[in-house]
Every structure is written in C-alpha cells, then in structure tokens.
C-alpha cells in the first residue's frame, strides 16, 4: 500500500504526480491511496486519477501517512511525519546531511526512508535530480532582476561590458549553472542579445576552498554582477562568503541562492547559508530587495548588515510544476517498479541489481550520521 500526500507548503507549491504515474505504481503491484484534493493545484480533479486508475482510493491526510510506503517529493513537516507508521517507508527529498533534526525524528519513529537526493548509481551520479531546471529557472529569475538593476548604459546596450558571473562550487549543480549562465538562463534572451551584438556572459567558478583567500575573493566580488552559490559544503557551520564581504559587491549585483541550505541551530551548533545574511525564498516569493521585510525573520545569530538584491527559492524546479513532475516521474519509474515489484524495502538487496544498489545507498538505515 502506497500513500501520496498533498504537499501542504506555500501556496505556490503546486506539484503532484500525474495520473499516468499513479497507474505505473498500480501496475507495479501497489494499492494506491491519494490524499483528498491531490493534484488540484495542478488543475487535476480526483476524477482524472479515478479514470486512469479505477482502484485508487482517496483518503484523509492522516490516513495517507498510515500506508506502508509514503511518497512525497518535498519532506513533510514534523506533524505529518509523526503520522507515519512505525516500520513504514518514507520516500522524499530528505537531505540527511543538512537536516540532523529530521534524521533524529525519523529514527525515533522507527521509520525507514529513501532519500531521493541520495539515489545514486555506481559512479555516484544522482538518479533523481533536476539540476538542469534548478539552474535554468534560477538564472532566468536572476537575470530578470539584473535587467532592472544594471547601471547605465543598461543591460540591453551593446556598449555595456560582458556580464560577470561568479560561481561558488563547481560540482554537478555548478556545471549546469555555468551552462545556463552563459545563456542568460533563457534561450530567447540569449539569442536576442547575440543578434543585437550585446556582449555575453563570463562565468568565473571557484571551488569553495579558494574562498579562504579573502584578497582573491574581494577582487572577484568587486567586479561581479551575479554571485551564485552552488556549493556542497562539508561543514555547513561555516559560511563561504561572510556577510561583511557582500559590501564588496557592486550595488546593482544580484545574489542567486541555488543550494538553499537553511539557517539552523542544533545541539549548540549554528548552521548557516553559504552566503551569510541572505533570506530564504520559496515558491510564493523568490526575489528580495535589500529592504524586504523578510530580513526581520532571519535568526539573530546571522549577520544581515550588508545586503543586495537576492533571488532564492527552496524549490526552483517547482516554478514550472508540470514539466518538473514529468522529469521526476521518468526518473522514479524504474526505482518504484523495483521497490514495489520486490514487495517493499524488506526484500531489497543493497548488493543486488543496479536499482536495488541505488536504493540501498539512499536508505536512512544505511546513513551514518
């Protein structure tokens, strides 16, 4: 039995799996339970699901969390998690490394889980990811802001300098980001500016370790138009760019937050974003001016003195929900088929076939930390 809850998060979070994907789950041997109202924010009525899968059952929020397997893209809040049954399996983007409280809660509930962000192949490549969309949606939003803030002769002028993008982190997300950045995060804009002979974009990438060298970073920041954080820090108690360094950025610069690490306090440790003092956005609001009231909500332990325009969203792919879910569905298909056809987690061999090994790597029970 598998339950798919609605994501009760910000209003802008519209994503749900499509009826065709629910049919795949059913064909793989699952009894499917959907929360009442599932898919509504994507414009899908319950009848759309019932037509595709006549056996589907609509249940309450509480009941949907009572199933053997619960599949939901973003991790639910703690109250919902407490509805999970002992020995059940939660499948979601759980980000064990940056969410120690969540890990403790799941363990205390005797829930096992598969973290979608840790499903990887033998060479370490993520099987469930949408870095492409994270990068392109984020860059599209950042360049929209820069069009307004860019000083004379203006963003669209052939006489302006090339746009300078500074990229923190050069891993998988950074790679997609570099590609999106040199194309302004928008192919039509890229083509238009190329046609009009407007100078393009130069991306300068630094591994986060170089950021220990203040003199080098200050030089880079002083000529940066867009500063992007795509880092995957091992130690999230240390910012890469302390707030005081933001003073070196030109006034028109835009900060783009693609890794959306949270500010947290846990067991005496303080966890911070890679760029200190920027707000965390979501699908309801992802652009912030320096005087946005959201700064009042940032925890006191964070220095917020120096500010620039910020673009941040916890769920960048969710900006285009339908396209996003199609990508995830195709990636999840073989994983869910493997899990359901084996009769659930208890029959998954972490040393077995390709997709079983991938599941094994993503299990909370195998997570050390």
């Amino acid at each position: 039995m598998i339950g798919l809850p609605t994501m009760h998060l910000e209003q802008g979070e519209k994503r749900s799996f499509f009826p065709n994907f629910i049919r795949i789950l059913e064909q793989s041997g699952a009894d499917v339970y959907l929360e009442h109202g599932y898919g509504n924010r994507m414009g899908l009525e319950e009848t759309a699901y019932s037509r595709a899968v006549p056996s589907v059952t609509f249940v309450s929020n509480h009941e949907v969390y009572q199933q053997d397997i619960v599949l939901v893209l973003r991790c639910p809040g703690d109250d919902d998690l407490r509805n999970l049954r002992s020995e059940s399996c939660l499948i979601s983007m759980l980000h064990y490394s940056t969410q120690p409280k969540r890990v403790r809660l799941l363990r205390s509930l005797s829930v096992n889980s598969i973290s979608l962000d840790l499903l990887k192949d033998d060479s370490g490549r993520r099987l469930i990811e949408n870095f492409h969309t994270v990068a392109w949606n984020g860059l599209e939003a950042a360049f929209q802001v820069l069009q307004d803030t860019y000083p004379k002769p203006g963003f669209f002028s052939p006489d302006r300098q090339a746009i300078q993008v500074t990229l923190l982190g050069a891993g998988a997300l950074g790679a997609h980001t570099a590609k999106a950045a040199v194309r302004y995060g928008s192919i039509p804009l890229h083509e238009r500016l190329a046609r009009e002979n407007v100078p393009g974009v130069i991306v300068t990438a630094v591994d986060y370790d170089i950021t220990n060298h203040a003199d080098i970073m200050q030089g880079l920041l002083s000529r940066t138009d867009i500063l992007i954080d795509t880092s995957a820090r091992v130690d999230t108690t240390r910012a890469i760019i302390p707030n005081k360094w933001l003073a070196y950025l030109p006034g028109h610069a835009v900060i783009l937050d693609l890794c959306v690490d949270p500010y947290q306090q846990d067991k005496g440790n303080i966890y911070t974003k890679g760029i200190e003092g920027i707000p965390q956005g979501n699908l309801d609001q992802y652009t912030f001016t320096p005087d946005d009231p959201i700064y009042a909500n940032i925890p006191d332990f964070v220095n917020i003195e120096h500010r620039r325009n910020v673009v941040s969203c916890y769920s960048w792919p969710g900006i285009h929900p339908g396209e996003c879910m199609q990508v995830y569905e195709r990636q999840l298909h073989p994983i869910m088929r493997t899990l359901l056809s084996r009769g659930g987690l208890k029959n998954i061999n972490p040393n077995g076939r390709f997709f079983e090994r991938a599941i094994g790597r993503a299990l909370l029970s195998n997570w050390v930390g």
Partner: protein
C-alpha cells in the same frame, strides 16, 4: 536458457599506448550472467594481465584466435574495429563498440553493406538522451591532471612565489566543458588539491564562456592574456572555422598550456572541412599527448595550409580516458553490466523500444534505430 550465448573480446589494434582491455572482474560477472566468454590470445597483456588472470578456474572463459572471436554472438570492443575488420564479423554476430554513427558516415556505410548488427556504445542513451556509457569525467580530469603536472615539475605543490591563483580559461560549457570546470577548480586531481589547500595554496580560478563571448576578439584576447591554462571543450556549429585563430595564441603568456579536449581532427578536404578549435595545434594520441613548442612531431598531424607560427605547450589526446586504462575500464564495466544482462535475455532483433529502462536505451543504439530516426 538452452542455447549458450557467447561474447568475444578482440584486442584493439591501435597505437601502442592504447592498453585498455575489459578487466577480469567484468568478464567473471558476465559468466555469472550466463555468457560464455572468449578472449583473443594475448588479450590484456598490455596491462600485464595474462590468460590465467582472466581464467581463474572459471570454466566459461576461453582463449580463441582473433578470427574466431569475431564470430561470437556478441563482439565487444571499446574502440571501433578498423574498416577492413568488419568483414570478420559472423553472420549472426552483434558488434558492440564506440561507432559514432553521426560523425563516421563511411564506417556506417561499411557496417550497413556488411549487414552487421551493430550497437554503438556512444548511442546508448536514457529517456533524457543522457549517455549511459561515457567517461566525460575522465576526459576532463585526466587531461587537467596532466596539465597541472607540467607546472608541478618546477613549482612544488603548485604554489607560486607570488602566491597567485591559477587561472584556467575553458571554452565551451557542454558535457565535457562542465566536467572540466570541476576538474580545473580542483587542480586536476583531488589529492593534489587537498595538499595544496593544506599548505595554504591559493587554488584556481576558472573562467568559462559561451559563443557570444567567443566571437568578441578584444574580450577573448584579454582573457587569453591572463590564462595559465586554456581548454578547448567546444562543440562548434561550424567546424570549418577555429574559435582561436593562430594569431591569438601570441597573446597567451609564454608559460601557458593549451589543452585540447574536443580533439577534432584536421580534415580540410572533407565536406564541410574540419579544423581544430584552436588553430595550429597538433593532434595527439595515447603514444604522444604532450607537445613542446619545438616538438619535431608538431606538424605531422597538421595540414600545410594551417598556420602554426604561434605556439605554446599543447596537450592533446584522442582518447583521454585511456591515460588511466584500468580505472577507465572499471568504469565502463560498471556501466555495461546492467546492459549486458538485457543482451543475455534479448538480442539485436528482439530489443524493444517499449521494454524496461536499459532495454529502451539499447534499442536506441542499434544501427537500424539510428537510420530510422535519420529518415524520420
């Protein structure tokens, strides 16, 4: 399954520096699936593997002469056989190799004329058109490892006296370019980078651009003038024109190194003609991939009409992953194993576009599938 499914492994007859063979562990896993494995006599000697290293008392691994190897149900060879070797393939054999259908029309024609069942490793793609058998990472990391090693010969731990950061300029942001950004930012080798960090080194600053900067001469020359390493990772729409004309090379610092990852050959007589993205640099292989400015072989691979006046040290290799052959083949073995499971149960003709994940990917890589897509 009553009929035994056989797979043959011929030796690659390429430059002496090409040492790659599929590793014993992979062959044993194939026998675990059920394959009868045949390896050409002498297979693996290039990596100091001998028949006993493959055999290890496995009754399903056998030695065989080259001609017979090509007659097995499947013939697996990483780099394509030469044009005159296709005739060796058996009537019912299926060739699995890097065949590069789109860029090798002549090879494609020979395969078609010989009615060969062919699956091209570089065409095995998933539903998102991502290659399942590829080693772009090694292309980027191996080449940049070699590039930084050139400097390391005279700059211990890559920390210069003035403690300036290394400046790497990467042209192209495609599959290889993306990996190159990561590799360049970590000095081409993680262990080297960690030691560099431990000693307080300044690291590397990597700059990358797309096409709308590449055509601005002033901007390009400014970037070239401050680069320690430049990397060509472009996939040009028009391969008849270089991105960096030979004259611009003069603006690079004397110590700068040029790294060629695109490894486009010079074929000025083809239609359209193809030149390298950086004009006037030599085309290397596993026998020689480092070219000093005064290298006697510099002009061997460059047609006379191409200017070569301005030179810097060049790193170019047709098969960058082959620099670390065992690691490369371990990687390919991992990627191939789930595909081989499918090929044990199915064959060239029974693969279906509606099958499961790996079967769909294999279906797309058949020559017939490629030709159908082309005519559609």
């Amino acid at each position: 399954m009553s009929e035994k499914i056989s797979i043959g492994f011929p030796i690659m007859r390429e430059e002496p520096g090409e040492k790659r063979v599929f590793l014993p562990d992979f062959l044993h896993k194939l026998t675990g699936i059920g394959f009868e494995v045949f390896i050409e006599e002498g297979y693996g000697n290039s990596l100091d593997f001998y028949f006993d290293d493959f055999k290890i008392e496995n009754p399903r691994i056998h030695p065989l002469e080259r001609e017979e190897i090509f007659k097995q149900n499947y013939v697996l060879i990483l780099r394509s056989p030469h044009d005159d070797e296709f005739a060796l393939l058996g009537k019912n054999s299926c060739l699995i190799s890097m065949l590069h259908y789109p860029t090798h029309p002549l090879r494609r024609k020979i395969i078609e004329e010989n009615n060969i069942q062919a699956i091209s490793l570089d065409s095995i793609v998933d539903d998102f058109n991502l290659r399942l058998v590829e080693n772009m990472k090694s292309v980027a990391w191996n080449s940049l490892e070699v590039a930084y090693a050139q400097f390391e010969k005279y700059i211990p731990n890559l920390i210069r006296e003035d403690r300036t950061a290394w400046k790497v300029f990467i042209i192209g942001t495609g599959m290889v370019g993306k990996q190159a950004v990561n590799a360049a930012s970590k000095l081409g080798k993680k262990e080297r980078n960690l030691e560099h960090i431990r000693l307080g080194g300044p690291g590397a600053i990597v700059t990358t651009i797309g096409r709308n900067i590449a055509y601005h001469a002033d901007q390009m020359i400014e970037l070239l003038a401050q680069s320690d390493i430049i990397v060509d990772a472009t996939q040009r729409y028009d391969p008849s024109k270089p991105i960096i004309p030979n004259g611009w090379i003069a603006h690079l610092p004397e110590h700068a190194i040029i790294v060629d990852l695109s490894v486009d050959p010079y074929t000025p007589d083809s239609i359209p003609p193809v030149v390298k993205g950086i004009e006037g640099i030599p085309h290397g292989n596993l026998d020689q991939f480092i070219f000093e400015k005064d290298d006697p072989n510099w002009e061997k691979t460059i047609p006379k009409i191409i200017p070569t006046t301005n030179r810097r040290k060049v790193l170019s290799c047709y098969s960058w992953p082959g620099i670390h052959p065992e690691s490369c083949m371990r990687h390919y073995g991992q990627q191939l194993l789930p595909l081989m499971r499918v090929l044990y149960k199915k064959n060239y003709h029974t693969l279906s576009p509606d099958g499961l994940h790996f079967e769909r990917a294999l279906f797309r890589a058949r020559l017939d599938s490629f030709l159908k897509r082309k005519t559609d």
